[in-house]
């Protein structure tokens, strides 16, 4: 990068990060795809002449690109594209809201454990370890089976099985940051512990937190699809990317398009958030270059 012939230009940290991010073409592509998915699921349904729950039994299993139904119709004659858009709306919303919840819990637990250390830290982090012992899908399905399924339950349960990784990241950050001069200085000024934790330490750990948040959205979308595919997430007639695949296996031989479209959208969304997270990691914090 820096050769002797060129004058070295000092970049502001934000600018440097943006440069590194721009170089990461896959992350840019991911951001673009996310934008298209968000806009498509937000405004797309209003542009279509079909309602996502409108049943037309006479037009069952219309293949894609035949007549008015661009992506065909499902086993009840509902328009697949309309369901796809509404499904993406539901799945993306769950992904983002579950991420916010998981981040909130993870940041609070991680900050307390990292700041206080000792017995408090040990107890909190052993709790994190213990929850991580349960394979996520087993825990998620068991909890979902015991509760009333629905949009809120699904979101809360996904958050409940995803906050532990955030807590680990934040705990490690806060534990090392609290020894730094600015934290000690804040303590000397007489700032309260809460203030030091959430106004000084957590904001300084924002880079790994943003990365964790982005990867968390990907994970939440994936978990929603698993849960709804198995029938314990979003319930029909409402569409979600996962529950559109719920019946797809039965019609795999006769109507494969029912399985293909939602799966492609899930994969696109999850891949995009993962690449975005990867790019942000390279851009925001070049040191934590984990594979």
């Amino acid at each position: 990068m820096t050769s002797a012939a060129l004058p070295t230009v000092q970049l502001a940290p934000g600018q440097a990060a943006w440069r590194r991010f721009r170089r990461h073409r896959l992350a840019l592509a991911g951001a673009l795809i996310i934008l298209v998915l968000v806009l498509g699921s937000a405004f797309g349904p209003y542009l279509l002449p079909f309602d996502d729950t409108y049943i037309d039994i006479l037009k069952r299993f219309a293949p894609p690109f035949s007549g008015a139904h661009v992506l065909g119709t499902d086993e009840l004659g509902r328009d697949v594209l309309a369901r796809l858009m509404m499904g993406a709306r539901v799945s993306l919303s769950i992904g983002i809201v579950a991420m916010v919840m998981a981040m909130a819990v993870g940041i609070v637990v991680g900050a307390f454990a990292g700041f206080y250390g000792g017995v408090v830290g040990a107890v909190l982090m052993r709790l994190v370890d213990a929850v991580l012992c349960f394979p996520t899908i087993f825990l998620l399905i068991a909890l979902a089976a015991l509760t009333e399924p629905g949009l809120v339950t699904t979101t809360v349960l996904i958050a409940a099985t995803a906050w532990m990784w955030v807590a680990r990241v934040v705990e490690a950050q806060v534990r090392s940051l609290r020894e730094r001069e600015f934290a000690v200085a804040a303590l000397a000024f007489g700032s309260s512990n809460l203030r030091i934790m959430f106004r000084e330490l957590v904001p300084n750990a924002i880079a790994p937190i943003v990365v964790a948040a982005t990867l968390n959205v990907a994970k939440a979308i994936l978990l929603e699809s698993y849960l709804s595919y198995l029938g314990y997430g979003i319930q029909p007639p409402a569409a979600s990317l996962g529950n559109m695949l719920n019946n797809a296996q039965i019609y795999l031989a006769s109507a494969p398009w029912l399985a293909i479209a939602p799966g492609v959208v899930i994969t696109l969304a999850v891949t995009s958030f993962n690449f975005l997270g990867d790019g942000l990691r390279d851009a925001l914090d070049p040191r934590m270059n984990i594979p």
């Binding site: 896959l26 052993r126 709790l127 370890d129 213990a130 929850v131 991580l132 012992c133 349960f134 394979p135 996520t136 899908i137 087993f138 825990l139 399905i141 068991a142 909890l143 089976a145 015991l146 509760t147 009333e148 990907a218 994936l222 699809s225 698993y226 595919y229 198995l230 314990y232 996962g242 695949l245 797809a248 296996q249 795999l252 031989a253 494969p256 399985a259 293909i260 939602p262 799966g263 899930i266 994969t267 999850v270 891949t271 993962n274 690449f275 990867d278 984990i290 594979p291």
Partner: protein, 316 residues
């Protein structure tokens, strides 16, 4: 060494206590609690319910119930299935074989393929192969396992007719060839995510090792490149993979559940979902606890084994 193992064991026991508390809490905080199945029956009167409550010891204080439950769990009494009254542990163990078969096959595929991809990627860093492998791994980690299973069934069973669309064997058959034929698709589907993980970790582990001083020393001694690679680099790069195996275990178990569902594989994951469908809570809780314990023991073994082969760890 002994101290490390004892320390690690104590940690595991403590985790087991927390894990079991979480499991117990889930069981009892559920709406209706353990009695909901009985209460749902129209023929049950309040008197009957009271009797069952006393019989199952549900009228005692929660801490006592927990201690009793925990004690019985340690002695192997995990309750009985609501469905057929069979002991939970024997229900689980009768389905365990199929799951382990699937997991072991997938792991073998993933370790061989993943390590090969990772090593090659690290040796030819930023080459076309490396870039494709990196992008491919990310996509593999993003594909929902069940959907990949559906696509596999569509392509190889529906279209090409090469592989069976599910189950562990053809009814009435069950020869080794038939079993292997049924194993291919679910094992490959389960191996996808695992291969991606192993590839990524192997690549970074290998990259770390090839920059070490002892590799330079070996090269300076004039040691042939293949010998440096196999004797010095690969052996050291493989060591941290023991930890990866332990870390990956929960994902592997979860993936097995999904693969079993798609391919109607008669394993523990399939049993778990069936039991949930029947509201067979003792079996559901049993499998939940069993899987958590498998994870716990898996990570314990990985740590101890790692300490045995890498003396640097024991000090920490």
């Amino acid at each position: 060494m002994v101290r490390y193992v004892v320390n690690r064991l104590a940690q595991a026991v403590m985790l087991l206590v927390i894990v079991s508390t979480i499991g117990f809490a889930i069981l009892h905080l559920a709406p209706g609690g353990p009695l909901s199945q009985f209460a749902a029956s129209a023929q049950m009167t309040q008197e009957d319910l009271d009797r069952v409550t006393r019989q199952l010891g549900l009228d005692r204080p929660l801490p006592i119930q927990y201690l009793d439950w925990f004690g019985r769990m340690l002695t192997g009494d995990w309750g009985r299935s609501y469905r057929d009254g069979e002991a939970v542990l024997s229900v689980i163990s009768s389905h365990l074989g199929a799951t382990l078969e699937l997991m072991a096959t997938a792991t073998i595929i993933a370790v061989l393929l993943g390590c090969w991809i990772g090593v090659l990627g690290a040796l030819r860093r930023y080459s076309l192969f490396d870039s494709l492998a990196t992008v491919g791994a990310m996509i593999a980690l993003s594909i929902p396992t069940f959907w990949f299973g559906l696509v596999t069934i569509y392509v190889f069973s529906v279209k090409l007719g090469w592989l069976p669309a599910g189950n562990r064997q053809t009814v009435g058959d069950g020869s080794l060839l038939d079993l292997l034929h049924h194993l291919i698709a679910p094992a490959l589907v389960l191996a996808l995510v695992e291969t991606a993980m192993w590839g990524r970790f192997m690549r970074s582990s290998m990259l770390e090792v090839v920059n070490q001083d002892y590799i330079r020393t070996a090269r300076a001694k004039g040691m042939p490149e293949w010998r440096i690679l196999t004797v010095h680099a690969l052996r050291n790069a493989l060591l941290p993979m023991i930890t990866v195996a332990g870390l990956q275990f929960p994902t592997l178990l979860g993936g097995a559940l999904v693969a079993e569902t798609v391919f109607t594989w008669p394993g523990m994951g399939r049993l778990f979902l069936d039991s949930i469908g029947y509201r067979d809570y003792p079996v559901v809780m049993g499998i939940l606890m069993f899987s958590a314990m498998m994870v716990l023991i898996g990570s314990l073994l990985a740590d101890i084994f790692y300490a045995v082969v890498d003396p640097r760890i024991r000090v920490g």
